[in-house]
């Protein structure tokens, strides 16, 4: 049964993804939820609490307010918090119960804008998707609400889009001849993020950056490429041809695809991507595939010779396959936090290249 998990954890959920994406953007993210989402995000899906503050809260929804659809308390609590904490914007994230009772978040945003004078937007989550969907929605919603046509362009200015601690640990991207305008959203700030439209190129470093990149392409004419920029220049991992093989990289498709491309270029060895996160449209080569859930992934790995994946995937991998550990915070969380390599330095995680 695809919906059951015997031994693997699920990926970080969409609500946490939304909060992670907006963490450093200077706003106030409010999750309309009783309690669980906040605790989960706080504990397992976020690493920055001790070093950087962020205004992330829950509404503390109770059963009566959920049943009666009472939004008044939600609105007045947000207004009070905004008055006190002075955020640059307000973002609202959904969770299962408000999703079920059809809470009108867009309407609430309009009311909040009127009452607080702050930009307010809705991030379309419901806790039933993975973090890449939540991050993608958050970046896209932020772009739609907060970006404006730039007065000037920065020559060779580049945005890094789709970067959070859920996928990546480092922002040390060295692009010769380019100037980084903004990073969405690690080691960044509100002032940096809202300048994004001044860039001339976007680089989507994960699947959660694609939607915002597409939006900026349509709205501001900024082209984008996808993939981790190694060796000083932006490059699209999908330009590197790979053939079907029994070597697999399991994980998020843009990062996994970039690693596969890099290995192919450096060694000539073909690795196929098994994408286990949700956003995959246009991100996989023909030799790659998508897997949903533990059962499907276990089946897909049955014939594997070499596997590059989070250490937890070893639990469902064939014992005779060669397994190279590549911890992924959005899967194994804090268990392998200290072993997560800097993905911008590929030599660290794929020995022998």
């Amino acid at each position: 049964m695809k919906k059951t998990y015997r031994i693997l954890p699920v990926y970080t959920g969409d609500v946490s993804g939304a909060a992670s994406a907006l963490y450093e953007f200077g706003g106030m993210t409010v999750i309309h939820d009783p309690s669980g989402c906040n605790s989960t995000y706080n504990t397992h899906d976020e690493t920055r609490w001790f070093d950087k503050e962020s205004l992330i809260y829950i509404s503390g929804l109770n059963d009566i307010d959920a049943i009666t659809g009472n939004d008044d308390k939600f609105i007045s609590d947000i207004c009070a918090a905004a008055e006190r904490m002075k955020p640059r914007f307000i973002a609202l994230a959904n969770s299962p119960l408000p999703y079920l009772n059809g809470t009108d978040f867009k309407g609430i945003c309009r009311v909040l804008e009127e009452k607080t004078g702050l930009p307010c937007f809705y991030v379309n989550t419901n806790a039933m998707h993975d973090y890449s969907m939540g991050q993608s929605e958050a970046f896209l919603s932020f772009a739609k609400k907060m970006l404006q046509s730039p007065e000037k362009k920065i020559p060779n200015g580049v945005n890094i889009i789709g970067m959070t601690p859920l996928d990546l640990t480092s922002t040390k991207i060295e692009l010769s001849g380019y100037e980084t305008v903004s990073n969405w959203g690690l080691n960044t700030s509100y002032d940096e993020a809202v300048r994004a439209a001044e860039a001339e190129l976007n680089i989507a470093v994960s699947s959660s950056g694609i939607a915002a990149c597409k939006y900026m392409e349509e709205e501001y004419g900024i082209p984008y490429i996808k993939g981790l920029p190694w060796e000083g220049k932006p490059s699209d991992y999908m330009d590197v041809e790979r053939k079907p093989s029994v070597n697999f990289i399991v994980g998020e498709p843009v990062i996994s695809g970039s690693i596969a491309a890099y290995i192919k270029i450096k060694t000539g060895i073909d690795y196929n991507v098994i994408a286990t996160t949700e956003i995959t449209d246009g991100l996989l080569l023909k030799c790659d595939r998508k897997c949903h859930g533990e059962e499907e992934l276990e089946e897909a790995l049955k014939e594997a010779d070499n596997i590059i994946a989070d250490p937890m995937v070893r639990l469902i991998s064939p014992p005779n396959a060669n397994f190279i550990e590549l911890p992924h915070f959005a899967l194994s969380g804090r268990l392998y936090l200290k072993k997560i390599p800097d993905l911008l330095k590929p030599g660290l995680y794929y020995p022998g290249i």
């Binding site: 015997r6 970080t12 669980g36 989402c37 989960t40 504990t43 992330i56 299962p96």
Partner: protein, 432 residues
């Protein structure tokens, strides 16, 4: 007297039992307290199955993973189609739990099933689910858990109900008058006067928080007396003693000598000669040592460390300790007398909310603070803290003495707060 809309209030100005206005909630990155996963694993050999949406599942599955207990944990993911098709949520729950159990190498004897908030809101037929599961797995004892935090603001919390559900499987065994069981707590009884007195009375002592086998856990059904020392376990203690027709004593860690003496006397157990006098003297002597050591160092207490934080604050204040702040969000009804005492005698004592929006930017002084509890440590930014939850299994004069010694130790030896407080479930294995 108005409830404060600020994150802090003088106790002299505070309202009982809710000193603070409800609003958006902050969650401090402090996780030593137990959640329903930790509690459920207290039953040896029990397997836990959660049926919920991705984001909700993540927290519990990672709790199990960080405990190294994924082998005793399975999950069923709810998706949109489970919400929109009539009868689908029951089907997914039944078939999901069935699939989880059939994938295990061996069917476990006890399975704790956790439906969630959406099961309630969809009017899911929970009774039918268990009827069907019990038909499919007649040898399995199913425990009816629930992970529904939406209910906790106005009624019982999921962990209170889980403790009760866990006690519901303890059978009514022939009573053994010489057997007494601690029940309802997460912390096994440790420095605990009741434990000592029970030994003095030659009683056989069992503890639901410290069972090695399922058989041992179920054998608590032969106890003649149950002792509950943690507020969240009281509902379970009442239910099991009513069902088994036994007695219970409820006595959470108190720092009031008269309360301790009264509770022990009411138990009807024999006490050694001079027990109360010696106990009080030892506490007073230990407290004097503490005062000489820490002098006027500010002390902050939080509600996760002990079940009665205001009782502790009162005890320390009465003995000249400079308690400046108590971190809590509400005052338990059992602490009303302590609240009023402190309000009258120490009105400057600060009550500080742990989830107010402004707590996201805590204002920390440069003064060295001695903290009691992980949250107090985080808010005060100190490594000098007593690392304890739920009273640590302490009770009585021996418990108070040991508690004071822990304060002395915390004052003398700084801990790595940043490493310790993010770890979940103090006392459980942590693989991070």
């Amino acid at each position: 007297m108005p409830t404060s809309s600020d994150e802090r209030v003088r106790i002299g100005d505070a309202e009982f039992p809710k000193p603070f206005v409800n609003g958006l909630e902050f969650n401090a990155p402090v996780h030593g307290t137990w959640n329903i996963v930790h509690i459920g694993f207290r039953i040896p050999e029990a397997h836990q199955i959660y049926i919920c949406a991705d984001n909700c599942l993540r927290g519990v599955v990672m709790t199990a993973a960080e405990m190294g207990e994924l082998g005793r944990f399975s999950s069923v993911v709810l998706e949109e189609d489970d919400m929109t098709h009539s009868g689908r949520i029951e089907e997914t729950t039944i078939e999901g739990v069935t699939d989880c159990l059939r994938k295990l190498a061996k069917i476990p004897p006890v399975v704790i099933v956790f439906p969630v908030c959406v099961h309630r809101f969809m009017g899911c037929d929970i009774g039918y689910i268990y009827k069907e599961l019990e038909k499919r797995f007649p040898d399995v004892i199913f425990i009816r858990g629930f992970m529904d935090p939406v209910m906790q603001k106005r009624g019982t919390t999921p962990d209170q109900r889980l403790r009760k559900a866990m006690s519901d499987i303890i059978p009514k065994l022939p009573v053994k008058e010489d057997t007494v069981a601690f029940a309802g707590s997460d912390m096994p009884a440790s420095e605990n006067d009741f434990k000592k007195i029970l030994e003095f009375n030659s009683k056989t002592v069992k503890d639901t928080a410290d069972c090695r086998t399922l058989e041992e856990y179920l054998s608590t059904g032969e106890a003649s007396l149950f002792i509950c020392q943690y507020p969240a376990g009281l509902m379970a203690a009442k239910a099991i003693t009513q069902r088994l027709d036994r007695k219970y004593i409820y006595c959470p860690l108190s720092f009031d000598f008269d309360t301790v003496e009264e509770e022990i006397r009411q138990s009807g157990l024999s006490v050694p000669d001079g027990f109360f006098e010696d106990g009080k003297e030892a506490c007073i002597a230990e407290m004097k040592k503490l005062k000489d050591l820490i002098k006027d160092t500010p002390v902050a207490i939080d509600y996760t460390a002990v079940p009665k934080p205001l009782s502790l604050a009162r005890f320390l204040k009465d003995n000249g300790i400079n308690v400046t702040t108590v971190y809590l969000d509400a005052v338990d009804g059992s602490e009303k007398a302590d609240f009023e005492y402190l309000q009258k005698n120490f009105p400057e004592l600060i009550l500080h909310s742990t989830m107010h929006v402004s707590d996201r930017r805590p204002v920390r002084s440069n003064e060295n603070v001695l903290a009691v509890g992980q949250k107090a440590a985080w808010f005060e930014g100190t490594g000098n803290f007593v690392n304890m939850i739920e009273g640590g299994g302490f009770y009585g004069f021996s418990g108070i003495c040991e508690f004071i010694r822990l304060m002395e130790d915390a004052f003398n030896n700084s801990k790595d707060m940043r490493d310790i407080v993010p770890r979940k479930g103090l006392g459980c294995r942590s693989c991070i």
